[in-house]
């Protein structure tokens, strides 16, 4: 870890002012990802701006029947919030499937959005990585890429976004509230993260001078028919090889609205609008689900070690949609796949 200057932000305006004035500075809140990366020398910010004390810790109902979640609400508090548990259980479930309780106690909602990839080659500063060092190449493409992406990859990067929470936020059509020098704006979660293209060093569409202030959930929470299924190499405390968030609104056995997003397979939570269109109006059954899975994975591409993810994702999608349709969401404590 390099030596850095430490400052606290007095309020959101001050935070924006400070970050805008120092292009190399970074915000720190929970620190679970940033401190980790700083110890590995992947991140070397000369200055940290502590935003952990900003008053962004409330969870409030919105006039439209949704929920506005302060960016600094710890992951655990969000997962255990009664309104989230009741109305957005898929979000609780996804959060509880990630990391450990200690990390969830530390990690903030906003921080979870901007966490960086777990690609082995990103983490090892001796290796070529376009995300860490633009132009250096991607050692993962021909390397040990078992955990890497199968969708939306580019020749310069096959990293995945590691968040579970964001996958649930994607199916919930959440919005990210951000504030910058020129004021506040909203970004749909599905548009927040980017595909790597030839600029994999840019994870998301947050501008340099912006701070995340809140996440807003619309009213529809899919509390009746949803599931978050996370598949990994051990039964807890591991990143997803593939995860699936599925949420359905059913009307007499037919799908009125279907939402589907994948984690662990792309540079962003992978939401497939096309697959969702294929679900709409169809019977909630295996054929429909299989068709949706085919659509999601039509353009999937493996890089050797991670080829298995394509077929695994296909089966996981069908299973998760089935869990959602049957109102038997996956438990994160009972490891039997429902």
């Amino acid at each position: 870890m390099i030596k850095f200057q430490y400052d606290r932000a007095a309020d959101v305006t001050d935070a924006v002012r400070q970050i805008a004035a120092d292009p190399e500075a970074r915000f720190i809140a929970g620190g679970t990802n940033l401190i980790d990366l700083m110890k590995y020398q992947v991140e070397r910010p000369p200055r940290l701006i502590d935003i952990s004390r900003l008053p962004l810790t409330s969870v409030e109902e919105t006039p439209g029947g949704g929920l506005r979640i302060g960016a600094l609400v710890p992951n655990t508090d969000l997962a255990y919030h009664p309104l989230v548990e009741q109305r957005y259980p898929i979000l609780s479930s996804a959060i509880m499937s990630g990391a450990s309780q200690q990390l969830r106690n530390m990690a903030s909602t906003g921080g979870n959005l901007v966490q960086r990839t777990r690609c082995f080659y990103f983490y090892d500063v001796t290796m070529a990585c376009n995300k860490r060092q633009p132009g250096s190449g991607c050692a993962a493409i021909k390397g040990i890429n078992r955990i890497n992406a199968i969708l939306g990859t580019s020749e310069s990067c096959i990293a995945t976004h590691p968040s579970d929470m964001c996958v649930a936020l994607a199916v919930l059509d959440a919005k990210v509230h951000v504030t910058g020098l020129s004021g506040s704006r909203e970004i749909a979660v599905v548009d927040f993260h980017r595909l790597p293209g030839d600029t994999p060093q840019i994870d998301n569409n947050l501008r340099r001078d912006e701070i995340i202030t809140a996440i807003e959930l619309p009213a529809q929470g899919f509390a009746a028919n949803h599931s978050y299924l996370k598949i990994r190499d051990r039964l807890s405390y591991a990143f997803a090889l593939v995860s699936v968030a599925a949420a359905l609104e059913l009307e007499s056995g037919r799908i009125k609205t279907g939402r589907l997003a994948l984690g662990g397979v792309a540079h962003k939570p992978w939401r497939s609008v096309e697959a969702e269109a294929a679900l709409r109006g169809q019977a909630a059954g295996p054929e429909t689900f299989a068709r949706a899975a085919e659509i999601v994975l039509r353009d999937a591409k493996g890089f050797g070690h991670n080829d298995f993810k394509i077929d695994l994702a296909r089966r996981a999608i069908v299973r998760t949609l089935t869990q959602a349709a049957n109102a038997t969401p996956q438990s994160q404590a009972d490891k039997r796949i429902r």
Partner: protein, 776 residues
């Protein structure tokens, strides 16, 4: 730092048993309860006794190697090589040295003097063949991550920061780190196991044959504690070294050799060790670097490796195992061929016995064993939890399962038909072998008779259920060791030897044996270990410490008792006038006639009469010559898996391990060890694999987020049974060690259960969901 473990907690009155069952232990629980009630006599051996160092560990008072805070402590940070092979061309430490607080940067060019001969670097656990690695010695790079510089600074964060400013240029050379790529150049190493008959011919003629190759990847021990050394420099040049090690005297001798120091000049301490699993058998490079720093600065220095650097020390060698089993239609084996190709470094030849275990377990008139090594540009492989057996018996027991399938025989039945009452490698009888009881009791506890032999036949809802089993075997070794007992007139007993307690419970069993033999409550016993100045003790490995140390303690206690008897004979009205050493015992604080304990004299009175404050005796252990016997522990392990085949999630829902290991000194700690070993075996089967990018010769998951070990959610019910195994031959206590036996066979039992559940045989460990999927 004191190495004394003062026991403040009384013996738990409700003995927590976990799921450990033994007839002996049940009786022992009652015995304990009676002792609690009366305290009339001590009988701790065989009793589930709470750890005497438990309180120190649950309160955070136990001090590990990197935790001694001394005035003026200097903190080190090691810089690792980024190429796998080559030479250091240039090291530029200018930027690092400019950082305020940095004291020095040591490299091979400016370090203090070190020995220039291989013998000086050869520690007790070094392979016989080869030239041991010399840390920070010269410009040669032997493996990726090898330390090339040591930054010394006033605080740890500064050292860590400055370490990243040290710039090293290398002239890289071609490397090879892939066992599969190098198997063609592997060479045969001599092993004691001799061939029997003609295995190839018998195999070719056998009615039923099974032949396959199995693979175990590189695994790292990953003890929770990072390797650490704190070296305290004295003005007279003497060093006290607090080191994470499984052998303080091994490290002490090694440092004397490497630095040309006199024995009196170096003391090595390791009162607590946060896990070893074999990784601390050999001195690791951090101790050399820390000593270099202390000698250079003439100040105390601490060096703690980071988790990534923990992958630059020893590891379980990746091994290709080929088994060829030929059997008669009734299951009796006709031929066993077992070949292993394992990883070692370019500079040392490390190997253990992978291939000879079948000779101990299964009768076969024809057998052939071959062990080969492939030299790779990696650190030397090393001992890890049942080295050789964990890998070799995995392959053997998976192969036996496949043979059972081919024979349409129950896997337990096949093993019983092949059961050998003699060690065929040496053609010797066993001191004891209750493996049949392990099969019987393990199968019964598991419910094996309800198993439908047909793969894919058992289900629980959506999940396929698989029941698999395997045999485990390990050695019951005992090594020369010495112990000292100091009896004080107030009845306090101090027992000491230079052992380590790496979590195995050595403190506790030493206290138990001393308390029993000295006839005092365990609370009156102080244990000292982990100090190189104490009586000689071997490295803590191979499951030999408990038996080795216990019998040294018994010897020392007998001598103390003899001295008490000598004095007591001179007392007026002595009840011992005609007594011989064997006629008296120490019990309840008294010297008493065996068989008539009412005729006794308090120890305090004897010592007062003899005008002695304390009696001190040091004794080497001695064992009868048992070279005409084979000495082994055995186990049968039964595992249930539940598998969601569509998703590939494998859950180990139940395990039963039935162990025959002679008399169990402490069922509580021993049971825990076996449970822990089963967990290790589950990790081996499902999770653990060190991933090397062979293009760079670099480990890519050198952490414990991506090197997966089992977490709590992976582990469910594990039942341990210690079967009764009287052994009047092996040693006076009839005991064998249990440090290793618990892991042997577990990976095979899991793999066999997965086959039974799915009909798919994955022979490459770990059995991850993608490998299972590939077979679907």
């Amino acid at each position: 730092m004191s190495t004394d473990v003062n026991r403040r907690d009384p013996l738990a009155t409700t003995v927590a048993f976990g799921s450990i069952e033994t007839a002996n232990a049940q009786a022992a629980v009652q015995a304990t309860a009676q002792q609690q009630a009366s305290k009339s006599m001590s009988s701790y051996i065989g009793t589930p006794t709470s750890r005497v160092d438990g309180r120190a560990k649950v309160t955070g008072q136990a001090k590990y190697a990197g935790e001694l805070n001394v005035a003026g402590l200097v903190y080190g940070s090691a810089v690792g090589a980024t190429v796998a092979k080559g030479r250091i061309v240039r090291i530029n430490a200018d930027d690092a040295l400019k950082v305020p607080g940095v004291l020095d940067v040591l490299t091979h060019q400016n370090r203090p003097r070190m020995a220039d001969n291989d013998q000086a670097y050869r520690d007790d656990a070094a392979p016989e063949s080869g030239a041991p690695y010399r840390p920070l010695y010269d410009d040669r790079i032997l493996f990726n991550g090898q330390p090339v510089a040591l930054v010394l600074a006033e605080d740890w964060e500064t050292a860590r920061y400055a370490a990243m400013l040290v710039r090293v240029e290398y002239k890289a050379e071609d490397h090879v780190t892939d066992l599969h790529a190098a198997r063609g150049s592997a060479f045969v190493v001599e092993k004691p196991e001799k061939p029997r008959g003609d295995a190839a011919k018998a195999f070719a003629a056998a009615a039923v044959r099974h032949e396959a190759e199995y693979f175990i990847p590189i695994e790292h021990h990953n003890p929770m504690e990072l390797f650490a050394s704190t070296v305290v420099w004295s003005d007279d040049g003497k060093l006290t070294v607090y080191d994470k090690t499984q052998g303080v005297q091994n490290v002490q001798r090694y440092l004397c050799g490497v630095f040309g120091l006199k024995s009196d000049d170096v003391t090595v301490m390791s009162p607590f060790m946060g896990g070893g699993f074999g990784s601390g058998l050999r001195p690791q490079y951090q101790v050399v670097l820390a000593v270099l720093g202390a000698m250079s600065l003439k100040r105390p220095v601490r060096l703690v490796l980071n988790r990534a650097q923990m992958y630059g020390v020893g590891y379980r060698p990746a091994t290709i195992e080929r088994l060829a089993l030929g059997a008669r239609a009734n299951g009796e084996l006709e031929a066993i061929t077992h070949e292993a190709i394992a990883v070692t470094s370019q500079y040392e030849d490390f190997s253990r016995n992978d291939t000879g275990w079948s000779g101990i377990l299964y009768k076969s008139p024809n057998a052939r064993y071959t062990h080969k090594l492939a030299r790779l540009d990696l650190p030397t492989s090393g001992d890890m939890r049942a080295p050789g057996a964990a890998t070799g018996v995995y392959a053997l027991e998976a192969a036996m399962d496949e043979l059972a399938v081919a024979l349409k025989l129950d896997p337990v039945e096949l093993r019983l038909r092949c059961y050998s009452d003699r060690d065929q490698n040496e053609d010797l009888p066993f001191t004891s072998k209750s493996l049949r009881e392990c099969y019987r009791q393990g199968a019964e506890a598991f419910g094996w008779s309800k198993r439908n032999p047909e793969p894919r036949s058992m289900r629980d809802g959506k999940e396929l259920v698989g029941w698999g089993m395997a045999t485990g075997v390990w050695e019951a070794l005992q090594m020369p060791a010495s112990a000292r007992i100091v009896l004080t007139a107030n009845g306090h007993t101090e027992v000491a030897t230079a052992a380590s307690d790496i979590g195995t419970g050595t403190y506790t069993i030493m206290a138990q044996v001393a308390a029993d033999r000295m006839g005092v409550p365990i609370d009156n016993v102080t244990v000292r270990l982990g100090d190189s100045t104490l009586p000689a003790c071997p490295i803590e490995g191979g499951s030999w410490i408990a038996a080795s140390v216990s019998h040294a303690i018994i010897g020392a206690a007998d001598e103390v008792r003899g001295e008490l008897l000598r004095i007591a004979k001179t007392m007026p009205d002595t009840p011992f006038a005609d007594a011989l050493a064997g006629d008296v015992v120490l019990t309840n604080g008294k010297l008493a006639r065996a068989g008539d304990v009412a005729r006794s004299v308090p120890i305090a009175d004897v010592m007062r009469h003899g005008k002695v404050e304390h009696i001190e005796r040091i004794k080497d252990n001695t064992f009868a010559d048992i070279s005409k016997y084979a000495r082994n522990t055995h186990s049968a392990v039964f595992v249930e898996v539940k598998i969601d085949e569509e998703i590939g999630i494998i859950r180990v829902t139940r395990a039963v391990s039935a162990v025959a290991a002679g008399r169990i000194l402490n069922p509580k700690t021993a049971g825990n060890q076996v449970v822990g070993s089963v967990v290790g075996g589950i990790g081996m089967a499902l999770h653990e694999e060190t991933l090397i990018d062979h293009a760079f010769g670099r480990i890519m998951n050198a952490n414990i987020a991506e090197y997966h070990v089992p977490v709590h959610a992976d582990i469910h019910d594990i039942k341990v049974i210690f079967v009764d195994e009287p052994d009047s031959i092996i040693n006076p206590l009839g005991m064998k060690g249990v440090g290793e036996i618990g892991i042997v066979g577990v990976a095979a039992a899991v793999a066999n259960a997965i086959y039974h559940a799915t009909g798919k045989r994955v022979r490459d460990l770990p059995i991850t969901l993608d490998k299972l999927q590939r077979q679907l």
